[in-house]
């Protein structure tokens, strides 16, 4: 039988009846689990000082009367010098989005569409970002982008289906193509060879993060956007978007009972866009003026400045984003306000985009990123 993970050993101390008998029996007879349990006990004894204070017995009647006064708008006179107490409201529960190529491509493609295409030079790269910048988005914004790109719903969980064929979107058509289907490999080396890009992983992982469970390789995906009659001056013009190839390393938990991925490390070639017959300014003006693009999102994108070299990083409402340095490269750290999850994205000087994200706090995610960057 497998050794019990730390989380289960910990629960065995507090709620032994909640741990399956087979696990408890194993721990009782396993020397290695026994040693780990003793180490854990030392920390528990230290932390138990938290419960060592006198047990307060508050006067509930008096407290209720005080609250009633406040509810009725007749608060008591505060003692001189008594500072006001600001309630810190718990953050709403946010599910950690399972990393998938659909998520990545959606964000990347959405960013590309929003960023548009650039110069009038014939088939030149008009979008080849060398830095990243946060853009505040809401779930509604992402839904809008998904609808614009027709990449919402009906896809394979955990991976982006090999896009193929043409789809009609509100402003024209998108023709998807890719060289082959996504595939999972057992080792980073095999995945790196298949994708044709170097993959670096961290050797020291945060507590609770287990071994990699797989390496998903997504070949390069291209999408040709041809603007239709409803696109005004852009009608008949096109832009070619490219995302990948990339490798997603997904990590499990040391506590197998958790059953959730704890960390994802994505390495991929930076997304690009090229066009033979239109400009960045024209595409940007068209897209951001569309009635189905929320005005706030449009304003956020405009504030980015020169879109030809900036990759917008969607930062959902309620998260905190700040600029960080990873291995000397500028990146964006996005953290859940509760500290439960965080991620960092940066582009290195070799043109590779890196994302490290998971159920870890900001310091831990930066610790992993620094080993890669």
């Amino acid at each position: 039988m497998r050794h019990a993970p730390d989380g289960t050993l910990r629960r065995l101390e507090d709620e032994p009846l909640a741990v399956p008998d087979a696990v408890a029996d194993h721990v009782a007879g396993c020397r290695r689990c026994g040693e780990r349990r003793r180490r854990l006990d030392a920390d528990t004894a230290m932390a138990s000082r938290l419960a060592s204070g006198p047990r307060l017995v508050p006067d509930i009647d008096a407290a209720w009367e005080r609250l009633r006064r406040a509810i009725d708008g007749r608060p008591e006179d505060a003692p001189a010098g008594s500072p006001p107490v600001a309630v810190v409201v718990p953050g709403r529960t946010r599910r950690v989005v399972r990393w998938s190529w659909r998520t990545g491509v959606l964000a990347g493609a959405g960013a590309l569409v929003l960023a548009g295409a650039g110069t009038a030079a014939a088939l030149s790269n008009v979008f080849a970002p060398d830095r990243v910048a946060p853009v505040a988005v809401t779930p509604g914004d992402l839904g809008t982008v998904a609808q614009l790109m027709d990449v919402d719903g009906g896809h394979v969980p955990g991976g982006f289906p090999t896009p193929d064929g043409s789809r009609t979107v509100p402003f024209g058509t998108i023709t998807w193509s890719s060289t082959s289907a996504a595939r999972t490999y057992d080792s980073a080396a095999a995945a790196s060879a298949a994708a044709g890009i170097p993959v670096r992983l961290a050797s020291h992982l945060p507590p609770g993060v287990g071994a990699p469970t797989g390496f998903l390789v997504q070949p390069r995906v291209s999408a040709t956007v041809t603007f239709g009659a409803g696109a005004g001056d852009l009608a008949g013009r096109s832009v070619v978007l490219g995302v990948g190839p990339g490798v997603l390393a997904e990590y499990g938990a040391t506590d197998q009972g958790a059953g959730l991925p704890t960390l994802g490390v994505l390495t991929m070639a930076r997304p690009t866009a090229s066009s033979a017959d239109t400009t960045l300014a024209r595409i940007e003006a068209f897209l951001l003026s569309r009635p189905d693009v929320p005005p706030q999102l449009a304003e956020e994108v405009r504030l980015l400045g020169d879109l030809r070299t900036v990759l917008p990083v969607p930062t959902p409402t309620g998260t905190e984003a700040r600029s960080v340095s990873v291995g000397g490269d500028q990146g964006v750290l996005v953290a859940d306000a509760s500290g439960a999850a965080s991620g960092v994205i940066w582009e290195d000087r070799g043109g590779l985009l890196h994302v490290v994200a998971g159920i870890v706090d900001a310091q831990e995610v930066l610790g992993v990123a620094d080993q890669i960057g």
Partner: protein, 178 residues
């Protein structure tokens, strides 16, 4: 249970059956105060925290507080942590003056107070999420209730608790003793 009544009372005499919110308040107030006290180490400050948390809960949940038990606990810990972090540079207040179930000797009281103050200082230095899990667990909440309160799978609580305890011990070893 005392209810003000008669002329001059600040509000009408309470009806025989309490409102859902009063019932909720009476059921959870003591737990919320104790959680705050384990962070701030001061009974008066803890009751100030609880007062504001329940006031916010009343605005937020109104007459339907049934689902707010976890919310008020987490709000209490977060608010208390915020208070301690704000006060830390201004002054220290380590005296816990609430009623105790037994009267320790003066020597025991001093040792307990210092030990408790030290762990509270380390607690305030942890990420809020870790500190919250610790306070909830050592405040007597079950793994299930902690999972519900902070919105995670119950299978994650043991891991989070283990990591938080480890971080707390490192913080206590790292920083100078108080």
């Amino acid at each position: 249970m005392h209810a003000p009544s008669g002329e001059g009372a600040p509000w009408p005499a309470r009806e025989s059956s309490p409102t859902p919110f009063e019932h909720f308040f009476r059921e959870h107030y003591a737990a919320v105060v104790r959680l705050a006290a384990s962070v701030v180490g001061d009974s008066h400050a803890a009751q100030d925290v609880a007062q504001e948390v329940f006031l916010a809960a009343h605005r937020r949940f109104g007459g339907r507080p049934d689902a707010a038990a976890g919310w008020v606990r987490v709000a209490s810990v977060h608010t208390a942590l915020n208070m301690v972090r704000g006060q830390r540079r201004r002054h220290r207040r380590h005296l816990l003056v609430g009623a105790a179930p037994h009267a320790p000797s003066p020597e025991e009281a001093v040792i307990d107070r210092e030990a408790h103050a030290e762990v509270r200082r380390a607690l305030a230095a942890l990420p809020t999420r870790s500190a919250t899990v610790l306070v909830l667990r050592y405040g007597g909440e079950s793994y299930h209730d902690i999972a519900v309160a902070i919105g995670v799978d119950v299978g994650q609580v043991g891991t989070m608790l283990r990591r938080a305890e480890s971080a707390l011990c490192k913080e206590m070893e790292r920083a100078p003793r108080t």
